[in-house]
Symmetry: C3
Subunit: 111 residues, 3 copies
């Protein structure tokens, strides 16, 4: 049996109200992030009682989760690109390690 090489990448998941999805996907497009997945109609409760600059999700809103897998060098530009959104509106962002078998789908490289 062949052995498949797995390439380390970074997964970014963003949970935001659906009305802000286009802002986030436009930002990814501008950064040449070539693919993403959206899970619709999730709900969330967030972060009540914290002294943050803005209210978080009120009880249970209709939210979306936007997922993308990128080279590590894209993480900081994505965080920077989302800053105008997160400075004004509720939202959370998670970064985690993931491996992919076909890196060229995520980075433009041939493996």
């Amino acid at each position: 049996m062949d052995t498949f090489t797995l390439h380390p990448m970074k997964e970014i998941r963003i949970i935001i109200p659906g009305e802000h999805l286009k802002f986030a996907t436009d930002m990814l497009d501008n950064l040449k992030v070539t693919g993403y997945t959206i899970i619709h109609n999730i709900s969330g409760k967030g972060h009540h009682g914290f002294h943050t600059a803005h209210p978080m999700f009120s009880e249970v809103d209709s939210l979306v989760m936007l997922m993308t897998v990128v080279l590590e060098e894209k993480v900081q530009p994505i965080l920077a690109g989302l800053r105008p959104l997160f400075d004004r509106y509720p939202g959370v962002l998670f970064v985690s390690d993931v491996a992919v078998s076909r890196r060229e789908h995520f980075s433009g490289q041939q493996n």
Copy 2:
């Protein structure tokens, strides 16, 4: 460009029948876990043929996935809090590493 610091946290995902969601979220509330996300209407097949104390999901049930991101010190209390549920009913729980850019949303700390 600014550099955004990423803080290591633990992500907990719980997959349970929707009827047990309130037990789980009440437990999180009691532990002062300040936010979570719910993905609805997922399906699952689980664990047939194992000699466990209880049947797992029968073929394809309507399930929910409850996700939360916490400081590592909350992991064991959450596992303990879910034990009465998992002792009697089907369900699975995953713990993984994740990083967040705004730790104060998850732990009450200012970053």
Copy 3:
């Protein structure tokens, strides 16, 4: 309070058009993978402009995410089992680290 041991496992997530779900779950069944979760009605945009052998998701399709948690030794057989699908059709696959508290639900072992 008891301490719960967490066992390291591998999580595999596959995003494919819904019409190919049965191929993937049959393959998992053949490999004695004993449980999985499906998130329905997700959407995705993928990988435009890449010189790959096949087109990826056209703009926004109806996709499913199939998730499973396995012992590390199952990762390569799953990648091999999906190769006929991924050679002909669009799809992405992610492998990540996860821990579970009840390993026997995932591997047939008693913990």
